[in-house]
Symmetry: C2
């Protein structure tokens, strides 16, 4: 039992600054202000195939937040933990550490580094095979170009969007910006096939640049099929021939329904799904 009176995870589930632990200080700026970053990394047979993409995003976020990361240390800790768990997820959280009251950054922050491991999530294989229905979230993503794209700890928008539906009828929700343009899922990115071309929403005003999105954009480009990143209207989404959601944990889920609109799982989505499966397995 920890101090909040709930069962603590076993200590091997979590490392705080390299030491088995399940608690952080109430003065941690991650708790006070969401002053930090996180990554959720899939591990298969002791390695994380997309780790380069995760560390690239982490470094980008650290630059924006001016967090002095020791990437070599983080990388080596994650590699070691990945070997120990074999298959599972590693959630890495980095915060600016403890400070006194007030927003000012400590001049020499001692970052807090949290590694939590958990089993692979048990998503229904039907999501990938037969596709999913998207819940149309009313929660809008605000505009904040400074923080767009990075995976910081200020995630109230995702929490509120994800709270709009319960139950298994929808595996993911569609989240739009203030203008009503589709941006992403609550935990995934969105690709749409329009006029024989793959599009994905530009994430320069809001949204999270997912690791699988980066991987697919890079690899489709290498296959001579560039993905256009731009504003996509709701109308374009509804007119599109194929739609899918992706992230680095579940890979690619074809979208087969959004409100009245229905799609069948298209051949181009299947090609990309195979690409994602190959890198994740």
């Amino acid at each position: 039992m920890n101090i909040t009176g709930k069962a603590a995870p076993t200590v091997t589930d979590c490392l705080v600054n390299g030491v088995p632990a399940s608690l952080v200080s109430v003065r941690d700026r991650g708790l006070a202000y969401g002053d930090g970053l996180f990554e959720t990394i899939q591990v298969r047979r002791g390695t994380s195939p997309l780790s380069d993409y995760h560390f690239r995003r982490l470094a980008r976020g650290a630059q924006v937040l001016r967090l002095p990361l020791d990437l070599t240390l983080i990388r080596s800790e994650i590699e070691q933990l990945a070997k120990q768990i074999g298959d599972g997820l590693i959630k890495l959280t980095i915060t600016r550490g403890e400070s006194l009251r007030g927003y000012a950054m400590p001049p020499q922050p001692e970052l807090t580094r949290i590694l939590q491991s958990s089993p692979l999530p048990a998503y229904s294989p039907q999501h990938a095979e037969q596709g999913i229905r998207l819940y149309p979230c009313m929660t809008r993503l605000g505009n904040q170009p400074l923080l767009a794209g990075i995976k910081h700890l200020n995630r109230l928008e995702q929490v509120l969007a994800r709270s709009e539906w319960q139950g298994a009828a929808y595996a993911e929700g569609l989240v739009c910006d203030l203008a009503g343009n589709p941006i992403e899922g609550t935990m995934s990115n969105l690709f749409v096939r329009l006029d024989d071309c793959w599009l994905t929403p530009a994430l320069d005003q809001c949204g999270v640049r997912g690791v699988m999105r980066d991987f697919l954009v890079e690899n489709l480009d290498g296959m001579g099929e560039g993905v256009v990143q731009r504003t996509i209207s709701r109308d374009e989404l509804l007119r599109s021939a194929e739609v899918f959601c992706c992230n680095s944990v579940f890979g690619v889920w074809p979208v087969v329904a959004l409100e009245d609109r229905q799609w069948s799982v298209g051949p181009h989505t299947r090609v990309i799904q195979t690409l994602a499966k190959q890198v994740l397995s």
Copy 2:
């Protein structure tokens, strides 16, 4: 020493769910997503004069975030702690408690309730007497009407704005919205005197509705001097006759400089400063 290797505050400095403690679970959603609210409450001679305003904002925030608060319990804990400390600050943090990985809210959350007390901050009395210089922050507040006005734990914008200057030359920074309109200080609200009328920026797109701002708007209204809440342009701020910043800890600081523009401390600001002093002391 706590698990992160730093000196822990003495247990009487902090209560977690009513129990002396200085740690929270790594699974707390406050840490994971900034999924919660906070209030910083000034205590003088065992009472907090603006507590009604704090609890009103807390209740408003809890409604937006759908946090099932026990306000009676929170209030009684704060009143008890206020009596114990006499003079000081109480920082209340409420999070949605622990959950497994993922944005979905636990159906029956057990909120985490953190009370931290600290001495009154040692601001120079010159700030109130002679006025302050405002640092012109480049960090912009994003637009997010859903979260505007409440004091949630997603505060990266304030952290980044406050990090733009160091040292004592500036006691506060001016933060604008994406359009460049002045909105607030990093830790305070802004009032400007224009054409014999008090204005304060509308906070329906971004910004935090400070407790002292609410108090002043209400009380000036009661004195027959309504405060207009609307968009204020940078040009209007620079043309204004008087400017001040306010919060519930320091009261009212007249602004005497922003970049090339200089003001003297005006008589209308002094009236309001007295009003704030009376309620805070």
